[in-house]
């Protein structure tokens, strides 16, 4: 399988679903199954819990994944206690998630377990580093795309996207939504030198002047623009938006005289919440968006079946999507 071979080239790969039931867990399990006879040392964790609207009281929605002997996984204490495999505990975090501390363990007899992980990007980064200390060569991250999630899949080197009829039962809509996300994932990286400095910033709207100096505009969020128009262009037209890049922000900037020179820097693609129309209207007028963290999209997996029972034509869907985005598209249920 070409795309599984591709995965092994990276130290970390996030597997991200565009919507619930787009087959993310199937995708993860598929990769694990394909690698079940490989000597490659795998690690498995997840980005927090809050990204997917899991019922944290009943803890039932999160599907289990199947791990083989020798895999190293990270999960919460609560999930660890419900595991259906044998494992050796390697370490326990000091920091807590809403479901307790995180346990890192090595599978001693294959079986199933539910996975939870660090709740923020910084912690995830440290966790990925510590897994390589336990001999892990590639870590798979069960990723989430969500406004609520503090963790971003962009922290991993590469990514696999799961999409499907659950996102839209209309093939045209499904393809254009997926293609738009693909476009965002491919946004260009911004000048590397300053990116560490900007990544430390966690709130507000900032300007970067011609000399590369960073200035706090004193505007808490892009939602408060209307009342702060006067402050906005004091240091030029390059902005770092530490939080969400919204349609409102893009629409507002599009209507300003300086739109042709406007550059927005976002943390990564997952921070861009503008719809396709606002984004394209913005870029058509000459506005640019760049990111601090970039991840490589390896492939897209489609699930043509929606939870309501709609079934799209798998072959047509794959071909059309591949034509539109130019990277391999697979239907895991057909493999």
């Amino acid at each position: 399988m070409p795309f599984v071979d591709e995965i092994l080239k990276y130290k970390s790969v996030s597997i991200v679903g565009m919507e619930k039931n787009t087959g993310k867990t199937e995708c993860l399990n598929y990769v694990l199954r394909r690698l079940s006879n490989s000597q490659h040392k795998l690690g498995i964790t997840s980005i927090g819990l809050d990204g997917e609207g899991i019922d944290q009281v009943t803890l039932t929605h999160k599907p289990e994944i199947h791990l083989k002997e020798g895999d190293v996984f990270v999960t919460s204490e609560a999930y660890y206690r419900t595991k259906k495999l044998d494992a050796e505990i390697l370490s326990l975090s000091k920091q807590r998630t809403s479901m307790g501390r995180l346990v890192t363990a090595r599978v001693t007899a294959a079986g199933k377990v539910m996975i939870a992980g660090p709740s923020d990007t910084f912690w995830l980064k440290k966790q990925l580093e510590s897994l390589s200390q336990f001999g892990v060569q590639t870590t798979l991250v069960d990723g989430a795309l969500s406004r609520q999630s503090l963790g971003s899949p962009a922290i991993t080197e590469s990514m696999v996207l799961a999409t499907g009829a659950a996102l839209s039962a209309n093939m045209h809509t499904l393809i254009s939504k997926t293609a738009f996300l693909h476009e965002l994932i491919n946004l260009p990286l911004w000048d590397i030198k300053k990116s560490d400095e900007l990544l430390q910033i966690t709130s507000g709207l900032w300007a970067i002047d011609k000399q590369g100096e960073v200035h706090d505009l004193g505007i808490e969020s892009a939602f408060l623009l209307e009342d702060n128009k006067d402050k906005l262009f004091e240091f030029g037209t390059t902005f770092y938006v530490s939080g969400a890049v919204t349609a409102g922000l893009l629409n507002f900037l599009r209507m300003q005289a300086s739109i042709e020179n406007t550059v927005i820097i976002a943390r990564d693609f997952s921070r861009i919440f503008a719809d396709s129309d606002s984004y394209h209207a913005f870029t058509k007028k000459g506005g640019q968006i760049k990111v601090l963290l970039h991840t490589k999209l390896i492939s897209v997996c489609v699930n043509p079946v929606s939870p309501q029972g709609y079934v799209l034509d798998s072959k047509v869907l794959r071909e059309k999507l591949m034509e539109k985005i130019g990277i391999p598209v697979y239907d895991l249920f057909k493999l």
Binding site: E69, Y80, D86, E88, L92, K94, R106, A109
Partner: protein, 436 residues
């Protein structure tokens, strides 16, 4: 975790200072720097295992995560115990947990990983091998074997827990000891970083030379300025402090409060040398206690605070009392009367206390100290807000008269307050002077 108590017993205090002294000596000896930093590293690796300890003392069966925690702690505590030997420090004893680690390390790997090892049971080991060899892990047979394994594992956990219950006292003592060690190292570090000194314990006179407030001293040193330390002694009676505004009277009260607290919690103190009488309580009236929420005015809140102090003094408690300008928020006529009466009362109850005031005419025989205050060299540059501190002499002198220094207007002028205001105030002050 541990709550270091406020220590009033002189013997207990002396023991704390002796142990701390020994640790400070270790810090000063560069041969020990390596092992000290190794211990600090190990302490940082510790997790809070209080929950697990509670379960252990309640004779609960521990799960894998809890067993992992105990094993990890046991290994760390043993490392720290060995490092303490290298440090040649006997002030804190960590019990030997080798036996505890052995229980949880049947394969003798000496690494802090844990699971129910095959070595615990031949039957378990055989069943696990049998299950792994099966082709279909979902088969009836595989599931049955798995169930059997789970039962055996549960029995092993029960057995391991029972073995560990016996060692609860040792594990808990080690847990307390590493916490004490952490605190001891932190106090020694602080003593060195802030240049603190070991206090002597006195039973009559508290006396400080070169007393300072570490935070302000550091701040001044950053600005290339010098903190002028105080020399002061406190008897078992009230002592009044007078002096100009900006003369550091409130700072002095705060410094004494801070140092008395450091002393009673077993820290070295911020002075060149100190002899201190341990007390049972430190009671202060510094700053405005006004509270809109409880509906009390500044004056009412202050009076209630003073009442609490009097009640403790009457109950025979050994106190240190520090009050900044009592009764200043009411009219001066009654204010002086109240301050006077308070000092008389503290005198008759023999309360070790320090009281600052701006009131003249206090009719009392108690000891009075005055901050020397502003002095003007003959050909000095003009005094401004920026350089006023250079012309302020913060040292304390015995003061016999019941008059207080009058420098408020002068300081207001230096601060650049509107001339119309200061000139007019001067006229009023002269007028009052003539009336008296």
């Amino acid at each position: 975790m541990l709550l270091q108590p406020f220590i009033s017993d002189p013997v207990a205090l002396e023991k704390e200072f002796e142990l701390l002294s020994e640790m400070v000596e270790r810090f000063k000896n560069y041969h020990y720097l390596g092992v000290i930093s190794a211990i600090v590293q190990r302490l940082q690796d510790l997790h809070d295992i209080q929950g697990t300890l509670n379960n252990l003392s309640g004779k609960a069966v521990l799960d894998d995560i809890e067993l992992f925690e105990i094993k990890r702690f046991g290994l760390l505590a043993d490392e720290i115990r060995k490092q303490l030997k290298v440090l040649d420090y006997n002030g804190i004893a960590i019990p030997d947990l080798t036996k505890v680690v052995e229980i949880l390390d049947p394969e003798q790997n000496h690494i802090p990983h844990f699971f129910i090892y095959d070595a615990y049971s031949e039957l378990l080991s055989a069943l696990r091998k049998k299950r792994k060899a099966l082709k279909d892990q979902q088969s009836e047979e595989a599931i049955q074997i798995h169930q059997q394994c789970i039962e055996i594992e549960d029995e092993i956990r029960k057995g391991l827990s029972a073995k560990l219950w016996v060692f609860y006292a040792d594990i808990n003592q080690a847990w307390q000891a590493v916490a004490e060690l952490d605190f001891m190292l932190a106090r020694a570090r602080l003593a060195i970083d802030l240049d603190l000194v070991r206090p002597q314990i006195s039973n009559d006179l508290s006396s400080f030379t070169g007393l300072f407030y570490p935070q302000v001293k550091a701040l001044l040193e950053q600005q290339k300025r010098r903190f002028q330390p105080w020399n002061i002694s406190l008897h078992k009676a009230p002592c009044i402090i007078t002096g100009a505004n900006m003369a550091g009277k409130t700072m002095l009260l705060k410094t004494i409060a801070l140092n008395q607290y450091l002393f009673q919690f077993g820290f070295f103190v911020a002075a060149a040398s100190a002899e201190i009488v341990p007390v049972e309580r430190i009671m202060t009236g510094i700053g405005d206690e006004q509270s809109e929420l409880s509906g009390l005015s500044s004056f009412a809140a202050e009076m209630l605070n003073i009442q609490a102090i009097i009640a403790q003094a009457r109950a025979g408690k050994k106190l240190l009392v520090l009050i900044d300008e009592p009764a200043r928020t009411t009219n001066p006529h009654e204010g002086i009367a109240i301050a006077n009466a308070l000092i008389d009362l503290l005198e008759s109850l023999q309360v070790r206390s320090l009281i600052t005031t701006h009131y003249s005419g206090l009719k009392t025989n108690c000891r009075k100290l005055r901050v020397k205050g502003l002095h003007f060299p003959a050909n000095s540059e003009p005094i401004t807000v920026a350089n006023i501190n250079q012309y302020m002499d913060y040292s304390l002198v015995e003061h016999k008269s019941d008059e207080v220094p009058r420098e408020a207007l002068q300081i207001a002028q230096i601060l650049g307050i509107d001339k119309a205001l200061t000139d007019s105030a001067k006229l009023y002050a002269d007028l009052n002077e003539k009336k008296m």
